[in-house]
């Protein structure tokens, strides 16, 4: 604090509270909506306070996902699909990139820089821009409507490789020398030194990549055609359909709340690693 701020100290608080309120308001409305019945919402008379249908709405969404007008998949099933997708993508990306970063940093071999640039360039090819040919490759490989098709094409990650590479460069040479003198080979060094040292970086990356995986949209939309493979984010938009006033909004809102829970929980409970991962992976 540079100047004694007297009397007006409440102004920043006021603006921040307003900011937080703007952020929280849509969430609050969905929470409220998920506790009323479809009729109340459809008539447009949704009040600002919670109703009495919480249990019914959530259990119906969770076990059936189907109401009067919405024909859906049980939310439990879609949550499972999303969870598998997010975890496989996050762990896969971490595993694949830590190995390739280790190779690029700790070995000297022909074409080393060529491979490094090959990985680096994928930063510039987001799946959205090459969506149709990538889809064709996946369907030629018979991976449509499978978890493999959903996850494997998204597992290569330049960001994670770059982050691990940056971190490996900071491991002191003396440590490598010491390990070599003690007779440790590269695999042993990797298992007993590099992996334990990378734990924080892996946690940070996991948060970012879990959210990335959970929130995928265009790719699952194309790759999964059977409703049994729907992820929850896709499932919500399918439930909304044309968005008429007369639909099972109570179920849709309960599903939306459930869809937000896992990624938000990951961010809130792992906030320290999340902020670290976010800021470092962009450097």
């Amino acid at each position: 604090m540079i100047e004694a701020r007297t009397g007006r100290a409440w102004i920043p608080h006021l603006v921040l509270v307003a900011g937080v309120a703007i952020f929280a308001f849509p969430i609050y409305m969905v929470l409220v909506g998920s506790t009323h019945d479809a009729g109340t919402i459809g008539r447009g008379s949704l009040p600002l306070y919670p109703g009495e249908f919480t249990g019914e709405n959530y259990s119906q969404a969770w076990t059936q996902g189907t109401g009067q007008r919405v024909k859906g998949v049980p939310v439990a099933w879609m949550m499972y699909n999303s969870l598998v997708m997010a975890i496989v993508i996050a762990l896969g990306k971490i595993g694949v990139s830590i190995l390739s970063a280790y190779a690029v940093v700790f070995f000297s071999f022909p074409l080393r820089m060529f491979f490094f640039w090959m990985i680096f360039i994928t930063l510039m090819l987001p799946v959205e821009v090459r969506i149709i040919p990538t889809f064709k490759v996946v369907s030629d490989l018979g991976m449509v409507n499978s978890f493999a098709g959903l996850t494997v094409p998204l597992i290569a990650s330049a960001t994670a490789t770059l982050l691990f590479r940056q971190f490996f460069m900071t491991i002191p040479d003396a440590l490598v020398e010491a390990a070599k003198i003690d007779g440790a080979g590269p695999l042993r060094f990797f298992r007993h030194m590099v992996l334990p040292l990378s734990r924080t970086n892996m946690a940070a990356l996991f948060v970012i990549l879990f959210i990335y995986g959970w929130n995928q949209y265009l790719w699952p939309l194309l790759i999964t055609t059977s409703r049994g493979m729907d992820t929850i984010v896709i499932g919500i938009t399918k439930m909304i359909g044309t968005g008429d006033a007369q639909t099972d909004w109570n179920l849709i809102m309960a599903t939306t709340v459930l869809a937000m829970l896992p990624p938000v929980a990951v961010v809130v409970f792992m906030q320290r690693w999340f902020v670290k991962g976010l800021i470092e992976s962009e450097k």
């Binding site: 921040l16 490789t161 949209y217």
Partner: protein
């Protein structure tokens, strides 16, 4: 670039690299190559034969008023999303950076929308602005505004921008806050001693020192608005009404997946790749410069 203490091993590095290189080759380079190849071919109406047509697809595309409209729309959309989410994030970050009580609590409360999927963010705002069941949608109609984003293109665009910007504020907020906290206090104190008030200090000291962060976020936000907002648009408006919210990435999806126009959509892919490469190159030039700081 290269460490001094390294392992001597002929085969192992290739084995370690193999998974990443295989995935990259199969799902990145092959499809990207296909897109470039296809963009020079024209398919007949039944998809049986393809002929090499050179830059014909690109020429058709760049002369197509629908494509140019979509490009213009994308510029308006991206600029609005970027401006809206960055200014509100900067304002909140500046306030949270003052050492007021509860700064950490505000941070936690502002951070989590990052975790909300773009499509889910769209659904949240749809509930509020739905013309017949949404709180604001109904309020607007009661006030005599003919609000219906499913019929009015400008309103649809407004809603898509709002939902896309809302989600991105958290990200910008975190980076602005980190940037603000890395500015040495002594510089700001020096300004205060020289008699500069809070406003003057912000615009002449803090804002210029924050410019690397601002520039970095500008690029990231543009990339986000270009590519990551597909879910927002798909869930909220489906590109409509008419084509009012059809951005370039959405048009690519419609032409390639729904209309199955391989040559045309490949040409669009190639143009978008050029855009990403350009934006990424700009970003890395800036990072290079920051190293010399």
């Amino acid at each position: 670039m290269q460490r001094r203490a390294i392992f001597q091993n002929k085969l192992l590095p290739y084995v370690l690299l193999a998974p990443q290189i295989v995935i990259t080759a199969v799902f990145f380079f092959w499809p990207a190559g296909q897109a470039i190849y296809q963009s020079f071919l024209l398919q007949d109406a039944f998809g049986l034969r393809q002929t090499f047509v050179g830059f014909e697809n690109f020429r058709t595309l760049l002369a197509d008023p629908l494509y140019l409209d979509s490009a213009g729309r994308t510029v308006v959309f991206s600029a609005s999303v970027t401006a809206l989410s960055m200014t509100s994030a900067l304002l909140l970050a500046v306030l949270a950076d003052r050492h007021i009580r509860g700064a950490t609590a505000y941070k936690t409360l502002l951070v989590w929308p990052y975790a909300v999927a773009p499509a889910v963010a769209a659904v949240l705002w749809l509930f509020i602005f739905h013309p017949s069941i949404g709180l604001f949608g109904q309020a607007l109609r009661r006030m005599g505004v003919p609000w219906d984003y499913k019929l009015n293109g400008a309103q649809a665009m407004f809603l898509v921008i709002l939902a896309a910007a809302w989600k991105q504020v958290s990200y910008n907020f975190l980076f602005f806050l980190a940037g603000l906290q890395s500015i040495p206090k002594s510089v700001i104190e020096a300004g205060a001693i020289d008699g500069a008030g809070p406003n003057r200090r912000f615009w002449s000291i803090i804002f210029p020192l924050l410019s690397p962060t601002t520039f970095f976020l500008l690029v990231v936000n543009l990339v986000y608005a270009f590519f990551d907002t597909f879910g927002t648009i798909h869930a909220l408006t489906g590109g409509g009404p008419g084509k009012a919210t059809e951005t370039l990435i959405y048009k690519l999806y419609v032409d390639g997946v729904i209309n199955l126009d391989l040559g045309g959509s490949s040409a669009q892919s190639v143009i978008l790749m050029a855009v990403v490469i350009g934006l990424t190159a700009i970003q890395f030039r800036y990072i290079e410069r920051r190293v010399h700081y």
